[in-house]
Symmetry: C2
Subunit: 258 residues, 2 copies
């Protein structure tokens, strides 16, 4: 028969594995434990399936079982895999130390992020504080792509196709002020094309500027600098932007040499 029969192991990928990953993803930042029921609800999977898959994830060391609560939490394995990701990243290895130095020198926050679906994930976020004890490095934190300078710089750096795909997803999600928001996102993208960076005040009293880093054979990254406790002004934004452009240029130089 010339019928286009679809074979199971085919192009779609492995169903159970996909579902297992979705279960891990159901543990969003801040949630401690989840029961099978709650996981089933969040993922839309049948409860019996969830029960089997969570058991597998426990055996594989990705989840810890909390017998007393009949619940599960992410196991330490996930951070060790995360650590492997960070130490493997050639970009972070190359410019991480530069970022730390720059943060200290300019007395501002410096971050490096890339995309996970519609969120930006920090590979490294160096929070400057005059009080040394409060200086802080965070990795893995997510911020929304469409609302942040990091995200918009990423959009400017990625391919046309990917960008349009993502813009469609923002539309689908936030029923609110979509029209204005999308226009603003496009304006930020133009700013990146024109000035090399875009400036956004996502959180009150924080001014952030970001720029994309595009390298062959690597995902698109975005580099940012930010300052707390300032009121937004164009002058400040362009000063920060100039620092960022200079720093990004140095980074790209280092990265070009493999």
């Amino acid at each position: 028969m010339a019928q286009a029969r679809r074979y199971a192991g085919g192009i779609d990928g492995n169903r159970s594995l996909e579902r297992g990953v979705e279960i891990l993803r159901a543990f969003r930042p801040g949630v401690d434990t989840l029961g099978n029921g709650e996981i089933a609800e969040r993922t839309g999977l049948p409860r019996s399936t969830v029960s089997r898959l969570t058991r597998t994830l426990v055996n594989s060391g990705m989840l810890d079982e909390v017998r007393s609560e009949r619940a599960y939490r992410l196991a330490a394995s996930v951070i060790s895999i995360g650590h492997a990701m960070r130490t493997g990243s050639p970009v972070l290895n190359a410019i991480g130390p530069m970022m730390r130095a720059e943060s200290a020198r300019r007395r501002l926050n410096v971050g490096l992020a890339t995309a996970d679906r519609t969120m930006m994930v920090y590979l490294e976020s160096i929070r400057y504080s005059p009080r040394a004890a409060l200086r802080n490095v965070v990795a893995g934190q997510q911020v929304p792509m469409e609302l942040t300078s990091l995200g918009r710089a990423y959009l400017a750096g990625t391919t046309e196709t990917e960008r349009e795909r993502l813009l469609k997803q923002f539309k689908r999600r936030s029923a609110a002020a979509t029209r204005a928001l999308l226009a603003e996102v496009r304006r930020s993208i133009s700013a990146v094309e024109r000035d090399g960076y875009c400036a956004v005040s996502w959180q009150p009293a924080v001014l952030a500027v970001a720029t994309p880093i595009v390298l062959e054979g690597l995902p698109v990254y975005a580099l940012n600098m930010s300052l707390q406790n300032v009121e937004r002004s164009d002058a400040l934004a362009s000063e920060l932007g100039a620092y960022l452009n200079a720093f990004a240029a140095r980074c790209k130089e280092v990265l070009a040499g493999r």
Copy 2:
């Protein structure tokens, strides 16, 4: 038939999911990209199976594909899941800030870890340095259980069954000096039972002491303190041990209140 037929979805867990996790685990710290062939070699899975599973992991956002090298690397998703694990951890939330304060006060390294198979994984490792810029926080780093104070404190804190299971695994792995090593491990465990902590110099010129933290409904953790650039002495070890015992007591107090 009274035959004990084994049903597929049965007790063993889901095969594909298990394999997918093994593939993620194949990316050890320091490796950047892996091709399907290399993954197949490391995991012992058939190449065609690896090909299908890596494709699924790419679709699920856990791996990034590097077309030009026909290889894969861990995607940013894994650190965002890792971040979720850390922010969800009630223990880290409760005592993380205390650890940072204690590190600054005593001018030494403070770490919190738990087990992943036969390795200890840092949830938080605060490296003290007089030069503020070099102060450092690492999470996800692994150290061998049998060789470190952290690991031996963990062994002392875990159940009899689990401890013996792990000791057997050490024997299996390191063909060398096993006899002496195991005796040393047992001596450290006794030290924990007697003094509350054990002291080990795993790395040259670093003295570390550790103590277990055992809480209902949570994995066993180990807390450690360490000092670089010192020669090991019993006096120093017991001074550090006293600091650790005092600090651990305060931690347990905080943790007891939920």
